[in-house]
């Protein structure tokens, strides 16, 4: 593993980073009410009396959110706690209607787990998960519509969140970035969170501290709230680490505080000093009984689990002959992996992978299409590779066929048939063409025979050109040399 060491004139430092990631749960209704979770509706339309914190309203736990949380816990290779409890986290804020958040505190639904991240040098690293709990999201305050008023949209208030807390296992920005991408990939595979950081459905708090290389102390950390992209998380770690080092090397101390990272300046600034930290007065939520899961329930969720990226990657390497890199790229996204498997069924998997990672992805990129909208179906991509493998067409012709497929979506077999693109493998027909080329280029034949043997390639090219690309290059190559050497 590539070490990330920050070296100054005074010493060598390493970073210690832990992440807290809030992931919006994919569910039809909110975690404690029946209001819709639809994103992008007009303000305050998806708000029930419970979400608005009306007097006498009570939360009821949405089973779908529990199911999603257990699934996610299993995806994090984590312990599912059969007993968990909800607590109230008390603080006043205008977009939190009850002025307390229902969350889990002492007894979270998911305990310790681990996931493996792939690093650029080809190594993998295990990242520990401390816990995961479920809670409700707050609404949104909008401060820029009016100079003297704030507006509140409660559509998001009460949407279910999973808060994943990692162990302080990261030693570089790269590891944190790789982790977030891996986590997002797992969540999307599971369908428990859409992982869109720019839309706020996945939000990351970053805890950073530094220490001299070789030390195992944990120094005071600072938390940067709501960093909203993988890139910014990596930048935030780097800039915050450098700030700490500068303070330490100038004889100062780091205060525990909450900070905000500004991607436009690449710097963070203080949001809240420790002395102004809220006392949240957590206590068990009396409106909800403890959440007790049975072994049968957990087993049933386990039985629903699909193959996750790591297992899929391993299988692609071991049983389909892919390189680790190709397997990793294809597995990062579930739709890509599924497309690949469908396309590769019964065909040369490695060739299919090559096609996907070159021409196919390039085509999607160019057309700005999602794989689910691809004009070329998985089956047709497989057929195209099969046409090459069985030498019905050459690789060169295949590119033309693919071009047509990406416009029309047609079956490549049909295209080859209709356009008469079948490769000529009939040696008689090829020999006729070779004879014609030899007969009409006596000078080059003489030159060849006098030792300019690399002219063979020129003859092959002429023959293929004359066949309009349909002559099988291997056969042409063999026959041209036989005839010239005669």
């Amino acid at each position: 593993m590539a070490e990330y060491i920050i070296e100054t004139t005074k010493g060598k430092w390493e970073v210690v980073v832990g992440l807290e990631i809030h992931c919006q749960i994919i569910s039809k209704s909110k975690i404690f009410s029946s209001a819709s979770t639809e994103f992008g509706d007009d303000p305050n339309v998806n708000v029930s009396f419970v979400d608005a914190g009306m007097p006498g309203m009570l939360p009821t736990l949405n089973k779908e959110c529990v199911h999603q949380a257990v699934k996610t816990g299993l995806g994090l290779n984590a312990k599912i706690n059969k007993y968990s409890e909800f607590s109230r986290k008390n603080y006043f804020y205008a977009d939190m209607p009850t002025d307390y958040q229902i969350t889990q505190f002492r007894y979270p639904i998911v305990g310790e787990g681990e996931i493996f991240v792939d690093l650029s040098d080809g190594s993998t690293k295990k990242i520990g998960i401390e816990r995961m709990h479920i809670e409700q999201d707050a609404g949104k305050s909008i401060h820029d519509l009016n100079p003297t008023k704030s507006y509140i949209d409660l559509n998001r208030a009460g949407v279910g969140l999973m808060e994943i807390v990692t162990k302080p296992d990261f030693r570089s920005p790269e590891e944190a970035g790789a982790f977030l991408r891996k986590l997002r990939s797992i969540l999307r595979y599971l369908g428990t969170c859409d992982g869109n950081m720019d839309e706020g459905s996945m939000r990351c708090d970053v805890n950073v501290s530094v220490r001299p290389v070789g030390s195992d102390e944990l120094r005071t950390r600072c938390e940067m709230k709501n960093v909203n992209s993988v890139k910014f998380v990596m930048q935030a770690i780097e800039s915050e680490a450098k700030r700490h080092i500068e303070v330490y090397e100038n004889g100062g101390t780091i205060e525990q505080e909450t900070r905000q990272f500004d991607p436009t300046t690449g710097q963070s600034k203080v949001m809240r000093k420790k002395e102004f930290a809220h006392d949240y007065r957590y206590f068990p939520e009396p409106d909800l009984p403890p959440l007790v899961l049975t072994d049968e329930y957990i087993e049933a969720v386990k039985a629903e689990m699909i193959e996750l990226p790591d297992a899929k990657k391993q299988r692609f390497i071991e049983t389909m002959g892919l390189t680790p890199y190709d397997a990793m790229v294809l597995c990062e996204n579930k739709e890509n992996a599924e497309f690949f498997e469908k396309a590769a069924a019964g065909h040369d998997a490695k060739k299919v992978a090559n096609w996907m990672m070159s021409d196919f992805f390039a085509m999607l990129n160019k057309k700005r299409l999602d794989i689910t909208q691809s004009p070329v179906s998985a089956e047709n991509l497989g057929r195209l590779v099969e046409l090459i493998s069985t030498e019905v067409i050459s690789g060169k012709i295949a590119k033309d066929v693919f071009e047509i497929m990406s416009e029309t979506g047609e079956n490549p077999e049909k295209i080859v048939e209709e356009k008469g693109l079948k490769q000529v493998t009939d040696t008689g027909a090829i020999e006729t063409i070779i004879d014609t080329v030899i007969a009409s280029n006596p000078d080059n034949v003489t030159a060849y025979k006098n030792g300019k043997t690399n002219l063979a390639g020129w003859f092959v090219g002429q023959v293929i050109k004359m066949s309009q690309g349909k002559a099988n290059p291997a056969i042409v190559n063999k026959l041209v040399r036989e005839k010239l050497d005669k």
């Binding site: 006498g56 309203m57 009570l58 009821t60 008390n90 009850t98 006392d279 206590f283 009396p286 009984p289």
Partner: protein, 484 residues
């Protein structure tokens, strides 16, 4: 006062079925009483128009034979129950303009059974108090008052006073630490706090969620049985409500008490217990003994910690439950320069002194550094108090105690106003029951030398309200208490 408003609910139902009078006539009679009884200050909001409409509907149903269990019975509703399109204040300035767009489950059950709602009854602000003196709408006067105005008890003071003064046929109440039983005792009527989880809390303004329960306050045991049957039942909108069948409580009234064991907790008879209270307690036990019940002394060893436990846990939950009254979305708002000012101004002006006191106590006991010493310890004590009762119920079927150590006291009593602890001490016999989540009923047993009612409390096993009705009916028969 017309005679028909002195009828019990059971008698009224019978009369309505026999068409001795119409539901509209009956409702008008109660509305008349309400008008003439405004000096009691029992109602915060009267809703004559709604009531008369409901009564008209009831009359139609009596004619076409589709009358329901409580068809045409005029009820008063404690103003802690949210009632759709009817102002619901919790007796607080902070909600004095709040009109809920929804109906509480308990009041919906009553409406579904054909009840008529006369109005919303006064209470201590957010049900915090034992005398109804903390109401923003002023104190309620106990109909038993003689030379000077007495408190009706609290927090369901308006409910108890209205039932005693026949300003409604029966009323709803809520009970967090004795708020149904104490006012019932002070006003010489009957009330039951059912088992925690028996009635849905959905739509009831929350005070302390793990302790709050709704229940009826009525003239006699049978009326309580009739009303509770309607009010109770599982509600999926309240995760703490229990999915246990609600029996026909009236059927318990005719059962005998022979063979039942009645427990008398020795800790409830401290030295210095008011001798009148002790004498009535013995008398109630004697009635039951004479009918063949076994009387047994039992022990509830953690009783002495109950009040302290209650006054840690209830304010803790309240401090969080009342956070939502912040002036942002509904209710009273006092402006401020900044958001924090708005909160502070709204809550300082919107809440009364007792509510503010409990919010502060609750905030304190949940604070970092104090949680373990107060809240956590109180939770552990709550478990021990619960265990006390469960152990006691291994050797008895029902527990008999006084409801309150005192009778109704004058409004503005100096000692209680100067030291809130003196007020809290009145809850000494009732709070344990809420901590343990048990059902308990209070019924009148007799008058003091000064002519004020005393109540007896019966505590039952979880979800065994039926046995409470059974035993209470016998004491009621033998005590021959004369209501107002």
């Amino acid at each position: 006062m017309t005679e028909i408003t002195t009828f019990s609910v059971a008698e009224t139902l019978k009369a309505l079925k026999n068409k001795e009078f119409s539901a509209v006539e009956l409702t008008k009679a109660y509305l008349h009483n309400m008008e003439n009884g405004r000096q009691y200050n029992a109602y915060i909001t009267e809703c004559a128009d709604v009531a008369l409409k409901q009564a008209e509907e009831a009359d139609k149903r009596y004619i076409n034979g589709t009358n329901r269990a409580l068809e045409g019975i005029p009820l008063g509703i404690k103003d802690l129950f949210c009632t759709k399109d009817i102002r619901t204040t919790a007796a607080s300035h902070i909600l004095d303009n709040f009109v809920p767009p929804y109906e509480s489950t308990v009041t919906q059950h009553l409406l579904d059974d054909g009840a008529v709602f006369l109005g919303k009854l006064n209470l201590d602000e957010f049900a915090m108090g034992g005398s109804n003196e903390t109401s923003y709408f002023g104190p309620v006067i106990n109909p038993w008052s003689k030379d000077k105005p007495l408190v009706p008890g609290g927090s369901s003071g308006g409910s108890a006073a209205a039932v005693a003064a026949h300003l409604c046929a029966a009323a709803t109440g809520t009970d967090t630490g004795g708020s149904i039983r104490e006012p019932a005792a002070f006003c010489g009527i009957t009330g039951i706090k059912p088992t925690y989880g028996r009635c849905s809390r959905y739509g009831i303004v929350a005070f302390a969620s793990s302790l709050d329960q709704a229940g009826p306050i009525a003239q006699d045991v049978r009326d309580c049985a009739i009303l509770l049957k309607s009010m109770a039942g599982f509600d999926e909108k309240d995760s703490t409500s229990c999915n246990i069948t609600v029996p026909d409580y009236e059927s318990f009234l005719n059962r005998e008490v022979k063979g039942l064991t009645i427990g008398l907790p020795k800790e409830y008879r401290p030295e210095g217990l008011n001798p009148e209270v002790a004498a009535y307690w013995d008398k109630a036990a004697e009635y039951l003994k004479a009918r063949g019940a076994n009387i047994k002394e039992i022990s509830l060893p953690h009783t002495k910690y109950a009040l302290a436990t209650y006054y840690v846990l209830a304010p803790a939950e309240a401090s969080s439950n009342l956070a939502r009254y912040d002036g942002i979305r509904y209710g009273f708002r006092a402006d401020g320069q900044h958001l924090d000012d708005l909160y502070i101004n709204t809550r300082t002006q919107g809440f009364g002194a007792e509510v503010r006191r409990r919010i502060m106590i609750g905030t304190y006991v949940l604070s970092a550094g104090y949680y373990d010493a107060y809240f956590l310890k109180a939770q552990k004590m709550r478990r021990l108090i619960h265990n006390d009762f469960m152990n006691a119920f291994k050797e008895c079927d029902v527990i008999l105690t006084p409801t309150s150590p005192i009778t109704a006291f004058p409004i503005g009593d100096e000692s209680m106003l100067q030291n809130p602890i003196n007020m809290y001490l009145n809850d000494v016999f009732t709070v344990s029951v809420n901590l343990a989540g048990l059902p308990a009923l209070s019924l009148p047993i007799g008058l003091s030398a000064t002519g004020l009612p005393y109540g007896m409390q019966l505590i039952g096993k979880p979800f065994d309200e039926g046995t409470l009705f059974n035993v209470a009916a016998k004491i009621e028969t033998d005590a021959k208490f004369e209501r107002k």
